[in-house]
Symmetry: C2
Subunit: 177 residues, 2 copies
DNA sequence: ACCTGAACACCGTTCAAGT
DNA sequence: ACCTGAACACCGTTCAAGT
């Protein structure tokens, strides 16, 4: 049902995701959906969550910088696969299992990099926000005037910027030699 | 009419912005709105644009770093004033007068800082995206679990991060001594 | 437990008609 | 030029009833 809704959004836009259309696709009446979902907002929550769970987790064997890069690339890819739904991500509290899963990857990477716990927690929010902001802008159409090559270059530069921020935080961290 | 729609969204949520409700507030029938707006999407475009035009432009007498900070603070304030509408900003192409207005402020500041034209153009997108991503996350509820103090601290750190990116770009720029 | 038919109050949008 | 009444095809959601 969440898969059917996501597919519907991908194919015909978010506005096409109506209780009746989803039900149709499942060969059922609209009212049957209310057995599995409280209401339409709840259904959309589920769709957003399933999108989040589609972002592949990086290989834990890679070093921390590679893992961060892989996660942000996976996020951008999920956005481009589901541009209609992705922007909704910024409109839900990041407290679901899917949100926690991605957050934990970043926490682990920043800890391994050597940051203190307070830094880890704050920096994760800023890194995630920058990546989500970019991916949501791209998916939502804010960059519609720009070429794919330009956006690839922008994304690469964003990564450099974020890496620079992590390095700066590391340099400000007292470390055991 | 755009003002009435924005007010309606602020007071009762984006879902309450229906053609009938807007018409009601103006003391007119819904069909009368179609004289001023092509359809509902067009109306929402107008509402988003009017929100963008609400962001105050920085004092041109201030130095470039102060202007950038003022613009991003103004943006964050507009988001908190209109949390229902603000997230839509990431879902429209940044080609309207309101978008251009803000962009030109950043262009001017980065040029004055001493960046080359290519850097100015690319960095503007990244800075704007980071600020909009943060403001939209905050307005949209992604940070709902966090205190206002925490979010203020996050925003301050975001500014530091962005300032660091500008400085790094400046250091990589060959300059006339 | 799960699904349905019928119904309700609302949507966005059209069109011809009014002033 | 601007607004309206009536109508159309759709919404989300409820409730009692069916299996």
């Amino acid at each position: 049902m969440l898969a059917a809704s996501l597919q519907l959004a991908d194919e015909q836009g978010l506005a096409a995701v109506t209780m009746q259309a989803v039900a149709d696709r499942l060969g059922v009446t609209p009212m049957a959906l209310y057995r599995h979902v409280a209401n339409k907002a709840d259904l959309l929550d589920g769709v957003v969550e399933s999108l989040l769970l589609e972002v592949p987790l990086p290989d834990p064997a890679d070093d921390w910088a590679t893992r961060l890069l892989a996660l942000s690339r996976g996020t951008r890819r999920a956005a481009s696969a589901h541009p209609e739904v992705f922007p909704l991500l910024l409109q839900r509290a990041a407290v679901t299992p899917g949100a926690r899963r991605a957050r934990d990857v970043v926490y682990g990477a920043l800890r391994e990099a050597g940051l203190g716990e307070d830094d880890v927690i704050q920096l994760e929010r800023l890194l995630a926000t920058a990546v989500l902001g970019f991916a949501a802008s791209e998916a939502g159409g804010r960059f519609a005037a720009h070429s794919a090559a330009q956006l690839d270059a922008d994304f690469a530069r964003l990564q450099e910027m974020l890496a620079g921020a992590v390095v700066a935080a590391l340099e400000a961290t007292p470390h055991v030699p």
